[in-house]
């Protein structure tokens, strides 16, 4: 089973590499949205510092949404999804491999870029680590939960919009806790509690979403 999962991850990363422009779109979107706020609001350090966590997190949510629509769509259209449903490995495991590859391609770059972008908001240097860690724990949840929506809206007309309606409300707890970690750290309370809740959500999502994604994919294939 492990060789199959390795193949799936390798395939997804290879495809992402050969279609780099698709990946770059979502990452550039993140960079541009985050950069627009300091430009629009102007140089008011206190205000910028206050909105930084929320702006970066909301931009990460939206950037994740952009890449979600592509997660299963082309595999559904060209019949590869059927082959995955008929694979020798359980569909739930294949789904985990695919979500992991999706996160590496579209979540990890956001985590890496976030401290650089946070400089535009004059975020305190001690908070940069908190920002990175909160995104590192939070973005995999976005990929896992978003994949349910991506699987449910496969093959629907206007699926992209429906996907946003389905998934964005589910992102709310992650957004509140993720951005809250920075607020708590800035207020001197320490982000530990927020990190623990995020880690708990990540464990819950990794345990249960693969079955929901697999069930949704089976329905879409019929």
């Amino acid at each position: 089973m492990l060789p199959i999962l390795r193949t799936v991850i390798r395939r997804d990363l290879l495809l992402a590499w050969r279609r780099r422009s698709d990946v770059a779109t979502a990452v550039l979107f993140f960079v541009i949205v985050v950069s627009l706020f300091p430009l629009g609001i102007g140089a008011e350090p206190n205000l910028l510092r206050a909105i930084a966590p929320g702006v970066i997190w909301v931009a990460a949510l939206l950037a994740c949404m952009l890449s979600l629509t592509r997660m299963f769509a082309s595999d559904h259209a060209d019949g590869t999804l059927d082959q995955m449903l008929l694979s020798a490995a359980p569909l739930g495991m294949i789904v985990v491999a695919r979500v992991f590859a999706h996160w590496v391609v579209s979540g990890l770059p956001l985590v890496v870029l976030s401290p650089v972008l946070a400089l535009q908001f004059d975020l305190d240097q001690s908070l940069l680590g908190v920002l990175v860690l909160s995104l590192l724990l939070g973005t995999p949840i976005l990929s896992l939960v978003g994949a349910i929506g991506a699987a449910l809206t496969l093959g629907l007309r206007g699926g992209g919009f429906l996907l946003a309606l389905l998934v964005l409300p589910l992102y709310v707890p992650v957004l509140i806790i993720g951005a809250g970690a920075l607020d708590a750290a800035a207020a001197g309370l320490g982000p530990a509690a927020h990190f623990l809740v995020l880690a708990g959500l990540l464990v819950l999502a990794s345990a249960f979403t693969p079955w929901a994604i697999a069930a949704a994919l089976r329905i879409s294939a019929e």
């Binding site: 060789p3 199959i4 193949t7 799936v8 395939r11 290879l14 495809l15 050969r18 279609r19 082309s74 259209a77 060209d78 019949g79 590869t80 059927d82 082959q83 995955m84 449903l85 008929l86 694979s87 020798a88 490995a89 359980p90 569909l91 294939a221 019929e222």
Partner: protein
């Protein structure tokens, strides 16, 4: 052994077929024919377990395939009418991924040999986007040449878009599989003669 019991499928309001029953033993060929839209592909997808039949069940060695899931899939090669080729991967990469997904990893040399067997020698490293329709079909069917160990082949229109030479190659691969004691289910419009120890025909519609 593959058995269908009282199988029925519907598309929207239409009943595509109902009360279908057959059993397929080692070395047997099942040919499904019928007009466009008569439910050939639906029947094949139901036999794979991709489509839930509206009534009846499909059994593999006596057990419902909807319960067996990947335990059934490990015995199965399904070539659908969609190519399942990734335009950005080369012919060899596509074949390696497909085989690995099916749980039968192939070495690079074996993949090359299979691609040559389908007459695509020298094109292994071309991206699938550079292939013509018939060549794409050949690239998909190269899986037949490395799937001898899978007892059940389910092929949806394997001869479509192929030229005479490729039809001949696929025919001999299918014939060889039947001679080894494999089972084959296929749909076709062409009158392709396949030598089989036992053959059943199902006419839909």
């Amino acid at each position: 052994m593959l058995e269908a019991h009282d199988l029925a499928a519907t598309r929207g309001e239409n009943t595509l077929f109902s009360g279908l029953a057959f059993s397929l033993v080692r070395g047997a060929l099942l040919r499904v024919s019928g007009a466009n839209g008569s439910g050939k592909t639906s029947l094949l997808r139901a036999l794979c377990g991709l489509l839930a039949p509206s009534a009846g069940e499909v059994r593999w060695n006596g057990e419902n395939i909807r319960r067996l899931r990947e335990d059934y899939a490990t015995h199965l090669l399904y070539v659908g009418h969609a190519d399942a080729l990734k335009d950005d991967l080369t012919v060899a990469e596509n074949l390696e991924v497909a085989c690995s997904l099916a749980g039968l990893p192939v070495s690079a040399s074996r993949a090359t040999a299979a691609i040559e067997a389908l007459g695509l020698g020298g094109r292994e490293q071309l991206p699938a986007r550079a292939l013509s329709q018939g060549q794409r079909r050949r690239a998909v069917l190269a899986r037949l040449a490395v799937s001898e160990s899978l007892p059940l082949w389910i092929l949806d229109e394997p001869f479509a878009a192929l030229d005479a030479a490729a039809v001949e190659r696929v025919r001999s691969l299918v014939g060889g599989h039947l001679a080894r004691g494999g089972m084959v289910v296929l749909t076709t419009h062409q009158e392709a003669r396949i030598d089989a120890p036992s053959a059943t025909d199902i006419q839909l519609g």
